[in-house]
């Protein structure tokens, strides 16, 4: 047994700056007040360093060579062209070069052949697909909510397409930041300004904690606190490589981040939730829609003015009738006033009653019982209608004396009447009280109840004298609006039409009469004109292309437990500093802001108390994208460097604090940051600078002498050999097999079958048919499930969408070997590739030769070819293709 224990005492510094750790520990002990700014390397202002005066191909090389010389290391030679072309293809577009691309580059005599190769790949749309995936790792983009009942987000993909587009269009970085944090405010009316906000909504979301638990409950508050925490952590970790989430319970233990900083950041996002938002992808359509909606508003206002005059003229008579009408319509329409509902009983034969008081003895023509409708437990119509019951009348409130039975259905079970009204003859009796007694209750869900929607009592004139009558009952589940005693006589029951309820039709007639009488002729004309205009606007709006929907971070307007802030006009929730991070211990209220120790920038956003919530995010977006924010520029160039070398200049891309790494080449990092910031903030320019350096182009081969000095290649005397990521492996397999569908953008393909979608979706990957061509698109377009991650991709260390992945783990395991050997996609693609190879001339020799060029960018050696041909002869080409897909060389890039 090999035992590996990892001792994690904080007293052991990871890097050399021991004194920094100690001082940080003192300054930021739990509860420490007003931490002073301390010397954190990443917070020092950005200054362009002088390029060392050493012989070098580029400024980047000057920094690196100077360091190599100081360490007594000699740079490795440049890699050969065959190696370079494969490296650059995978780096920039995530695909293997085609044999003709390899041969053309190898044979290219142009001294600028390499530059032209880089240029061509940067211009290809596959560049954006490759680099968007890196970004989606960092922001932990996923297309289901995660947690329990992991529901899909069918409208999350526009954000993914935005990121692909932004990279392909070489979006300047400051704008890239601003769009993602506050695009709706800073770039109003643009498609990107909406779709980019998918950044805020990218992470997981607790559906149950929001949709089933309101903010009034502790668990509801915790869910929303955790939701904002994710937004805050994602934003600062992504753009500034800071771990502000560690300051949730107390000031950050190691970095100069206070609890107040953290909650100020929560205040920035205090109005937003994760939600679907409609928008017009075509800004021209959006503009036209805005014009039309503006016109409609104007017409509405004009009509309101006219109406105001009329209403004033009509006076209290109109007010009275409208009040009655509104109440009647509401009761009729919302249908939420289901009826009366008893308490729940374990036994069906529990006796229950409900009765009404008509106020005085009334001669009874008939009594009508209306059943309820409630979809609870799939019951629907006839919900709670008693199985056995009787209807009695009396003048005695207690039904002790003078009781007359007008219906007795207690001897046998009554079939459920669904919504059929039960009409009972009054038998010529006069009584003040009418009582319904259930002797056998209706089944509900392994329990029993009595429920009725309406009890009507018609007198001999045909008037329902029970309307509004007082209701009493043995017991009642009082759960307004849906269930309460008074609903039994509110005039509403399922199936009734709005116009019939409580005299709605009559009230409408009276209202219209009053209005007509109060309207002047010119008002009538103006009003009709306005109505015609509204109709025309509506018609033109209907002709516009339909709006799209994107899942973004925005003000949510909902009903039920997940109400959002929309109903309050998007006014942000109040944010308090929480003692120990507990929602039950709110302290001082805080306004929007950010991290104060980034001292050069004001970190408490001075906004008016009435400022729209978007101003908070706009302020943070400006703060993050400010040229003077040193973290922003260091963070991003380090990320890009890491994806080209397999390791960043700082090894912890998401943490530039004291617990993170320190830059191996601090001056180079700063030079790159300043160059990037001041040189148009162009990713493509940065790629060019890095890819054209000698350091990038070096061979990955080892050198025992150099390894004795620097086995980890910290000083970059060679390039690092890299293991391909899950997406690159999958895309390369599809590409080599000739099955890759290059279609860009749009809804994600699903390589699973959803079982039980209605409740808790089960994502069944093993039921997916690997032959389905819809799933043969690039991996960036894969529908990303959080709860059940795709097993093939996961075993290849694909990023977990539940956490921010600045740098992927790189593992080697038997399960990974098994998945590459036996996964249905691998088996199917091996066959397809074999079928293609069969048309290659030259027999097995020629076919194997071609296979090497397609999969590895080279010809097999004589010995390799002989072995493969022998094998192919014995076991066929599909097996041979499977072997090649499983070679180390297929998965590693030199």
């Amino acid at each position: 047994m090999k035992s590996l224990l990892h001792i994690g005492s904080r007293a052991v510094p990871f890097f050399s700056g021991v004194w920094v750790l100690v001082s940080a520990g003192l300054a930021f002990a739990v509860g420490a007040a007003d931490p002073v700014k301390i010397d954190l390397w990443s917070l020092t202002p950005l200054v362009r360093p002088a390029v060392p005066a050493v012989a070098a191909r580029s400024p980047i090389d000057a920094f690196i060579n100077a360091r190599l010389a100081a360490e007594g290391l000699r740079p490795a030679p440049e890699a050969d062209r065959r190696t370079l072309v494969r490296r650059v293809w995978f780096d920039l577009v995530g695909l293997p070069p085609r044999p003709e691309d390899v041969e053309a580059f190898v044979a290219d005599k142009d001294p600028r052949a390499y530059e032209r190769l880089v240029e061509r790949l940067l211009e290809s749309p596959q560049y954006g697909e490759r680099w968007a995936r890196h970004w989606l790792d960092v922001v932990h983009f996923g297309e289901t909510h995660g947690y329990d009942k992991d529901q899909p987000r069918p409208n999350a993909w526009p954000y993914r397409d935005y990121v692909v587009r932004a990279f392909n269009q070489d979006r300047p970085y400051a704008r890239f930041i601003q769009e993602q944090v506050a695009g709706d405010v800073l770039f109003a009316g643009t498609r990107d300004g909406i779709e980019a906000l998918g950044f805020i909504a990218a992470g997981p979301w607790d559906l149950i904690g929001h949709a089933e638990v309101p903010e009034s409950k502790i668990d509801g508050q915790v869910a929303r606190h955790l939701d904002r925490d994710d937004m805050v952590a994602t934003t600062l970790q992504t753009f500034n490589s800071l771990t502000v989430q560690c300051a949730q319970c107390h000031n950050h233990k190691f970095d100069p981040i206070t609890q107040e900083d953290y909650y100020s950041l929560q205040a920035v996002f205090a109005a937003v939730d994760r939600t679907d938002r409609k928008y017009d992808p075509d800004p021209e359509v959006g503009r036209r829609r805005a014009v039309l909606e503006d016109r409609r508003r104007t017409l509405d206002q004009r009509r309101q003015v006219i109406t105001g005059h009329i209403v004033d003229r009509a006076g209290t008579a109109l007010k009275d009738v409208e009040r009655d009408l509104a109440a009647a319509e509401k009761a009729a329409k919302d249908g939420e006033a289901f009826g009366y509902h008893s308490l729940i009983e374990a036994r069906a034969d529990t006796v229950k009653w409900v009765q009404i008081d008509l106020g005085r003895p009334v001669p009874l023509a008939r009594v009508v019982l209306h059943p309820c409708r409630d979809d609870f437990n799939g019951i629907g119509e006839g919900f709670g209608f008693p199985v056995r019951y009787r209807v009695e009348v009396s003048d005695d409130v207690g039904f002790v004396s003078g009781v007359g039975v007008i219906a007795d259905r207690t001897e046998a079970d009554v079939p459920n009447p669904r919504l059929q009204a039960q009409v009972i003859d009054g038998a010529g009796r006069t009584a003040q009280f009418v009582r319904v007694t259930a002797t056998r209750l209706a089944p509900r869900m392994n329990d029993h109840i009595l429920a009725l929607a309406e009890l009507e009592v018609f007198d001999t004139h045909g008037t329902n004298v029970a309307r509004g009558a007082a209701v009493t009952a043995l017991d009642s589940t009082e759960a307004p609006l849906r269930w309460q005693k008074r609903n039994l006589t509110d005039g509403w029951y399922p199936g009734i039409s709005v116009g019939e309820v409580g005299g709605v039709a009559e009230l409408r007639r009276r209202r219209d009469g009053i209005l007509t009488a109060s309207t002047l002729p010119d008002e009538m004309m103006a009003r009709d004109e306005s109505d015609r205009g509204v109709a025309e606007v509506a018609e033109r709006l209907a002709k516009l292309p339909p709006q799209s929907v994107a899942y973004i971070g925005a003000v949510h307007s909902g009903s039920g437990a997940f109400a959002g802030t929309g109903s309050r006009g998007g006014r942000p929730r109040t944010i308090h500093i929480l003692d120990r991070g507990s929602v039950q211990k709110p302290g001082r209220e805080v306004g929007p802001g950010s991290v104060q120790s980034v001292g050069i920038l004001p970190a408490r956003f001075e906004l008016g108390s009435d400022a729209p919530e978007g101003e908070r995010r706009a302020a943070l977006a400006r703060w993050l994208s400010d040229a003077d924010n040193p973290l922003t520029w260091r963070s991003i160039v380090n990320r890009v460097w890491q994806y080209h070398f397999g390791r960043g200049l700082v090894e912890t891309p998401n943490d530039f604090g004291h617990m993170g790494g320190r830059p191996s080449h601090p001056e180079l990092l700063d030079w790159l940051a300043v160059e990037f910031r001041d040189g148009g903030q162009s990713f493509k320019r940065l790629h060019r600078q890095i890819l054209l350096s000698a350091a990038y182009r070096r061979t990955a081969a080892g050198d025992p002498a150099a390894e004795r000095v620097d086995a980890d290649n910290r000083w970059l005397w060679r390039q690092n050999r890299r293991k391909l990521e899950a997406e690159a492996v999958r895309d390369a397999v599809l590409c080599v097999a000739g099955r890759l569908d290059g279609q860009m953008g749009g809804p994600s393909f699903r390589d699973f079958v959803i079982d039980k979608p209605e409740h808790s979706p089960h994502y069944e990957y093993h039921l997916h048919d690997p032959e389905d061509p819809r799933s043969h698109r690039r991996s960036i377009y894969r529908f990303i499930v959080r709860s059940q991650q795709q097993p093939f991709m996961t075993s290849l260390d694909c990023a977990d969408p539940s956490m921010q992945v600045g740098r992927r783990n790189e593992s080697v395991s038997p399960l990974q070997a098994l998945t590459l050997l036996n996964n249905a996609l691998m088996l199917s693609m091996s066959r397809h590739w074999a079928e293609r190879l069969e048309s290659v001339p030259g027999g097995l020799d020629g076919q194997i030769e071609h296979a090497g060029r397609e999969a590895l960018g080279r010809s097999f050696t004589g010995a390799e070819r002989a072995a493969l041909v022998d094998y192919a002869r014995a076991f066929g080409l599909p097996n041979t293709c499977r072997v090649i897909f499983n070679l180390n060389e297929f998965t590693f890039v030199d």
Partner: protein, 504 residues
């Protein structure tokens, strides 16, 4: 196992060839494999720069292995383990908690007595509900903790908390940490195996046991005993009909040869060698996993002990005790076989996710209906497992931990069900280093909150205790992720001395 075997459940596809025979022939020739503990080793692999200092156990371990029994949906402490005479006395009376109670479904009806009669068992006289009477046979082995508190009444968050020590996604499962901290005990099987409920995953699915930021090989490996592919992609499926036993042998040989040539010109890159070895270990797993999962050669008295049904009948659609006993018993027996073969951590789930009809322990409507079959199932399997481990001498160095999401309320919800109670619930432990027959930490007279509200037991304490039994100081197994030294117990946790065996 052949399709005719009574262990073969109808509806599971089976290949025409004997997998075991196939594998013995195809993989048997791969001798001389370097046993570098690849399944649990970090050394070769680049990862976040946690402080990967090779070390030894922090103290002498009492146990080497863990079996965790996880009841999804929240099992009622009051109806199974935590006897409350007060509830019997006040059954049906209006409940009064003496304070405002926030309940998930506002289900605060009258007090409700335990659904099953309680009786004392063992020398310790532990009171257990009739429905878990099977556990009475091992009552003197169990250490109950009745004052465990949760942090949330929401299923997903509560499941995460018990499974990973954190309330939100993105953290490694407990078994991942154990594998990461201690490495593997064997070269042929994963260190951490998960046996899900036969109906499907619980809340959060595989996120409860995935590696999160730890290297991927520490993730729990799902095994479905009885399926043709008990581990995802263990064998080629229909799409690989061109693969034969002899091609497979040749494939491994050719891959190794070509990969060795490739690595030979790229010296000093340990990853290339590790990957070659990973294919060898994969072939060994193809042999070892089906063998470990095959209960076909277990003697009849063992199958009877676990309550395994040897008929080939199909089960009714409704949840029923006979099926639960059979399903859980199979998992328990497989768990024993896995730990015998050096698996470190086995997690057995009882209950699917939350849905209708109830497929788990979330008995809002009717405790008897759902808890009945599930409890009889787990109690039979768990008691058999404990007895079987004991008779084999394995109980001395295997910890068994029974847990659930949270408890259930002492009041009814108006009917026959109980609402969520995150304020107190029960865990029990048994096996290596655990003192049996004790109760450590009581709930109050209603089973509503801990008796001593200032001294509850937390999941961190449970986790710290299990790690302690394994010889690990829970504060010292850490992994640095995004600037934080993460550990299973976050910044909390202390070992529960009351459940530990007296030092001998």
């Amino acid at each position: 196992m052949s399709p005719m075997s009574p262990f073969h459940r109808p509806g599971q596809a089976s290949g025409p060839v004997s997998r075991r025979e196939f594998l013995w022939r195809s993989g048997g020739g791969l001798g001389g494999i370097a046993l570098a503990g690849l399944l649990g080793s970090e050394g070769l692999l680049g990862s976040e720069p946690g402080r990967l200092v090779p070390g030894r156990a922090h103290f002498r371990p009492k146990a080497k292995r863990v079996i965790q029994l996880f009841m999804a949906g929240a099992a009622s402490h009051l109806d199974l383990f935590d006897y409350k005479p007060q509830l019997v006395k006040r059954d049906g009376q209006k409940s009064d908690f003496g304070e405002h109670v926030e309940a998930f479904q506002d289900g605060l009806g009258p007090w409700m007595k335990p659904v099953w009669e309680f009786r004392p068992y063992g020398n310790c006289g532990k009171q257990l509900g009739e429905v878990v009477a099977d556990l009475g046979t091992v009552a003197d082995e169990l250490a109950f903790i009745h004052n465990v508190v949760g942090k949330t009444g929401i299923h997903s968050q509560a499941t995460y908390l018990q499974a990973t020590g954190f309330q939100l996604p993105g953290f490694p499962g407990m078994g991942c940490w154990v594998g990461y901290g201690l490495g593997s005990l064997n070269e042929n099987l994963p260190a951490f195996v998960v046996l899900p409920d036969h109906r499907g995953f619980a809340s959060n699915g595989p996120k409860n046991w995935d590696a999160a930021f730890l290297p991927q090989q520490h993730a729990g490996t799902i095994m479905y005993p009885g399926r043709e592919n008990p581990i995802t992609d263990l064998f080629p499926g229909r799409a690989g009909d061109y693969i034969t036993p002899s091609s497979e042998t040749a494939t491994h040989a050719l891959l190794e040869r070509l990969n060795r040539d490739h690595a030979g010109t790229r010296e000093g890159d340990a990853r290339l060698d590790a990957r070659i070895r990973s294919y060898e270990l994969a072939a060994r797993m193809q042999l070892a996993a089906p063998e470990a999962l095959d209960i076909g050669h277990e003697p009849g008295h063992i199958l009877d002990l676990y309550g395994i049904d040897r008929s080939t009948r199909t089960w009714p659609a409704e949840i029923n005790a006979a099926e639960e006993i059979d399903a859980f018993g199979r998992k328990c027996l497989v768990a024993r076989r896995l730990i015998e073969r050096g698996v470190r951590f086995v997690q057995i789930w009882s209950g699917n996710d939350n849905g209708f009809p109830r497929r788990n322990w979330d008995s809002h409507e009717d405790v008897r209906r759902d808890h009945g079959p599930l409890a009889r199932g787990f109690a039979r399997g768990a008691s058999a497992l404990i007895r079987d481990l004991r008779q084999r001498g394995l109980l001395d160095d295997t910890v068994i931990l029974w847990t659930t999401e949270f408890g259930r309320m002492p009041s009814s919800q108006g009917g026959k069900g109980r609402d969520h109670n995150p304020y107190v619930f029960t865990n029990w432990l048994c096996g290596g280093g655990i003192q049996g027959g004790v109760t450590c930490g009581e709930s109050d007279e209603w089973g509503y909150k801990p008796l001593d509200r200032n001294r509850p037991t937390t999941v961190y304490d449970i986790h710290a205790t299990v790690l302690h039994l394994l010889g690990i100081d829970h504060e010292k197994v850490t992994f640095r992720h995004n600037g934080i030294d993460r550990r299973l117990t976050d910044v909390h946790g202390s070992v529960i001395p009351g459940v530990l065996e007296a030092i001998r």
